[in-house]
């Protein structure tokens, strides 16, 4: 099981001929991901070769999907063209669109979000590390890796992880691997203020996933997504949750790296969010070093 993707998911990469997209396409192939196509306008017919794999490149997502049966897309397209790339994937009927690109203008994302209303496609990101369902091979290989996460830190297991931050996801993954819990699926939803998939969406999916026994939710200052997810969880989530909120020391009004990480008022400070999480029965880690142990406590492991 796991959520959204598994070892059978067929993936294409939009922007596979770029340096960043190409590098991570290679790492996904090494991980054992079913990376079946690349898309770069104007480079259709070329082949992306790596370690014995020959991945065909297409001009459009529509062609790539028709030829290969890909259902998920990873977007590594530069910011000025990323919104167009997302909508192209949605139009082509992809089930899952994972936008890794950092720096997409907010107005562009506003239009994407509105245009996607009513669509079957799910968008993850933008400005996110992507999604990993670990495999069962050495260093968790054989799984599905879409994005930029380091594959080897994972271990197939029972914890679902959702986070706005890449490196904090890695910390949580690493800790749960060290503790031997492993992960069902890890979703980085991204640090932008307007994104496709929220904390609450992931909690709902983890709640329904038989393989996921407990959940880690990592958030940060800015917005109210974590608080809403916590309130939902209090009401409906059957599984133990541990949480961490970054940014307790962030000065108000400053954008802390992520475009969405900005304290605007009293309710989106780290302390306020932590308090809401705790009220909703979530075990809140006080430091990023204690995410794994907080989960163990919440789950009684």
């Amino acid at each position: 099981m796991a959520i959204l993707v598994d070892e059978n998911t067929k993936v294409l990469v939009q922007g596979i001929t770029g340096g960043f997209g190409g590098k991570h396409a290679q790492l996904s192939l090494d991980y054992g991901t079913q990376l079946v196509a690349g898309v770069t306008p104007g480079k259709g017919g070329q082949v992306f070769e790596h370690g014995g794999h020959k991945v065909p490149i297409f001009d459009t997502v529509e062609e790539a999907k028709a030829e290969t049966g890909a259902t998920a897309s990873a977007i590594f397209v530069p910011p000025p063209f990323a919104a167009d790339a997302i909508l192209e994937a949605v139009d082509a009927g992809m089930d899952l669109v994972v936008a890794i690109t950092e720096g997409i203008p907010v107005m562009d994302m506003m239009k994407v979000k509105e245009t996607m209303k009513g669509s079957q496609a799910r968008l993850i990101g933008p400005n996110c590390p992507g999604i990993v369902t670990p495999g069962t091979g050495p260093d968790s290989s054989g799984g599905c890796r879409i994005g930029i996460s380091p594959g080897y830190i994972h271990q197939r297991g029972k914890v679902g992880i959702v986070s706005r931050s890449g490196t904090l996801t890695y910390e949580a993954v690493w800790q749960t691997t060290q503790l031997g819990f492993g992960q069902s699926t890890c979703v980085g939803i991204g640090g932008d203020p307007i994104n496709g998939t929220s904390h609450i969406d992931c909690l709902q999916m983890f709640n329904e996933d038989p393989e996921t026994e407990a959940i880690i939710m990592i958030g940060e200052i800015g917005g109210s997504a974590e608080a809403e997810a916590a309130r939902w969880a209090k009401e409906y989530c059957k599984k133990p949750i541990a949480g961490f909120i970054a940014g307790a020391t962030a000065p108000p009004g400053r954008r802390m790296g992520h475009a969405g990480a900005i304290v605007g008022g009293e309710e989106d400070t780290a302390e306020a969010k932590k308090a809401i999480l705790a009220e909703c029965g979530i075990e809140v880690a006080q430091t990023p070093a204690e995410i794994g142990t907080a989960l163990a406590k919440a789950a009684g492991w």
Binding site: L168, G191, G223, T249, R255, I262, T287
Partner: protein, 422 residues
Amino acid sequence: MVDVRKALRIDKTGVARLGKVVSVAAFRAMNIHEYQAKELFDKFSVGSPKGTVASTPEEAEAAAQAIGGGGLVIKAQVHAGGRGKGTFKNGFQGGVHLVDTPVQAKEFAAKMLGETLVTKQTGEAGKLVRKVMVAESVDIAHEYYLAILMDRESCSPVIVASTEGGMDIEEVAEKTPEKMLREFIHPLAGLQSYEVRKLSAGLGLKGAQAKAFGKLLVNLYKLFLSCDCSMVEINPLVETTDGEVLALDAKFGFDDNALYRHPDIMAYRDTDEEDPREVAASESDLNYIGLDGNIACLVNGAGLAMATMDIIKYAGGEPANFLDVGGGATKEQVVAAFKIITSDPNVEAILVNIFGGIMDCNVIAEGIVAATKEVSLEIPLVVRLEGNNVAAGKKTLAESGLNLITADDIMDAAKKVVASTK
């Protein structure tokens, strides 16, 4: 400065369902001067009083001459609120003055230009005044409030208006939430005429004033979209005794992600107004925010960088900065980062916290070694490396002969760096 976002939040819990209104992009990363805001208003035909910027007393005199008339106002141009009540370090009171004649404008300009203005927002250091704006002063019949913001929750722009302009908008929202009007604008359909009429009626405007307000709002919305603003706030928006509707004072926020397509707005950036450490960091493509603490940190990833600041505080220290070197940092960037954090005289120790997912730990290690050759490091350095190629990174550090403290995990690192300053 008024925090409109906070105001709306309070309002939300007050009466109607408002949706959370949070402007989505940076505010202080890209500020513009009042005279630049005036230029944008002119470009988009958003009515505002006549005004000209001046860099010398003579220019101020000429500007006053050109505008003509008796009632003029002269304003110091700095990125800080509270100018009117500020004090110059030369003893001159006030960064905003009414003047009657061009000669007087010249005299006042001479007392402001090249002088340092201290306001409640500048801190003790104050801000050097390099330019002044000379503008016509208008006779006000009524003051309103008008803002357009990008709303994070609804993923759409929202227009906020109130009859209670010129005041602290937070207070208005708290005490009289019914006086805060708002209209969410469809992301694709854009501003509709009926929405303008609703707002206009809500403000009690009639006839020619309603028309003038409508024109201003439509143009302001165009400006908001065209310039990728995260916020435009006009406070006050005034109705003059002549029946004109004019933007008297404005605050802008821009979406950093969209600045690449606005070279004209990028050109408004005034690095003299920014923290020099942050200017240096942006030149090396580093994500840095200066703070007041004693422990500097260098981290990869924004989330981990924030969390590292938090854990420094948790361990009993105070973070001196936020610094995200990013996922693809080079040795050169690490060296630049070290130069910036060691230039801060408050810094007593440094914590490097790297979780190398894809990032090679050895690149960081080599950067640290190279940096310490260029910058003589006289304060404790604690390093926590984990992840990709960590063994090589640790080896590089060990063989360098550097006097550094290694840590096993983030908590260990935070405790050690705090202990090193005691």
